[in-house]
Amino acid sequence: MAKVLMNGNSAIGEAAIRAGCQCYFGYPITPQNELTEYMATHLSRKKGCTFIQAESEISAINMVYGASLAGVRAMTSSSSPGISLKQEGISYLAACELPAVIVNMTRGGPGLGSISAAQSDYFQATRGGGHGDYRTIVLAPSSVQELADLTYKAFDLSDKYRVPLVILGDGMLGQMIEPVEFSYEAPKEPIIRNNALRGAKGRTSRIVKTFTSNPATVEEINWSLFRRYQLIKQEEVVWDTFMVEDAQLIVVAFGIAARIAKGAIKSARIEGMKVGMLRPITLWPFPAEKVREVANRTNYFLVFEMNMGQMIEDVQLALEGAGEVSFYGRTGGVIPTPNEVLRVISRLYYQKGLK
């Protein structure tokens, strides 16, 4: 297929349809409305597929819960305040070991915040988000093409481990238009998982629930989840690096911030500064081992995020005190420029006496 121009939100929609997403439930919020709109136009026209604009975010996530129980690939999307509302449902999905794809096109917060791009939902996404002892896989794309590719991958991963998965984008990725290519076709037949609740004809009935009065049973569920999380940590960590081989200073950034940082690093290289970048693509599981590996080459790290400093905690945890970690961030929906990050890099580079 040739390249087409699409905004990030629509690209997620198209990729989801091609990944065999059969149900989408949404509720409008800027800056992710184009995704809901895309599904309203395109998913609803596909045979056997369902689009519903729910009456609220809570309702939408619970519809996902139901669809996932019935064994089909289901998805919802929102932006920060709406994602907060969905947390109860995500916790329930995790408890029932049900796959689901949840898209968060993050905007400025806390509260209603602003409608411009931010990355301040990192903690919420990577620590589970709702109540209870659970995690979600978190994918952080940094271009429209990657939004499409990771959306496709998201459904497979979520199904494989039977855990809810969060795609953590931001308002800018959702709104910007870039050329994108879809290299796969939608499945001919709907994908139905085993063990789905689709009527008990010919078998004994089954109940899927999240409450039991016996704490030991709940503990066992937690162990089952925990073992799976250990496996995900072993198998599914994804990252990208840029010019780290000889780097004296490593910038760690994800999503749109990584893209801005890359521009700054290219300029820094022209000025002779040896700067590289580590970009986590899975935010959970976090590429801690990779952080330690690049720390064998340099002690100096700059974490750059569009928040007040959240991923920096994972970098520090990974380094176990080994490196010197600085931070630069803008938040609330303010979009930093590559030049701004370049100034931070230059200052740090010379302050630390790097050559």
Binding site: L5, M176, I335
Partner: protein, 176 residues
Amino acid sequence: MLVKTIIAGFGGQGVLSIGLSLTQAAMLEGRYVTYLPSYGAEVRGGTANCTVAISDEEIASPVASTPEFVIAMNQPSLIRFQNQIQSGGVLFLNSSLTQAEISRGDIEVVQVPADNIAEELGNRKSANVVMLGAFIKKSNLVSLDSVVKGLKDTLKEKQKLRAINKEALITGYNLF
């Protein structure tokens, strides 16, 4: 080389759509390109703008704080963006709807009476495309052929509109 253009005007003047045409032409030429619309709680008749970044390598940020080119289709856009243009950059002004009060001597100003020309051609709504024609000629960012080919793709089923737009585009292109 990375070149960023901000296109601004009233909502309804078609500033976003000529931004898209430019983006599409760049894509057809195999360049890296990003398009970022301004969005927000805009009011009817208020201003709309978009930023198009075209480059030979990956684009770090789709935002332009100091664009090389600005197309101002109305007076508020002129006021808002003229100070942002990079020194040595070019301001394209829809002189039908603006009174040029240029406060800077370090930029080039290209005046295009886009609305007047479009009206003469018989369709005032195509003023944006007249401007696009003039812009691609002066800026040399993308070729006329690519834009025409792009229009063909976006207006696939609307042959009449395609003809009107093509005429407007070429008229604008031949101004300079």
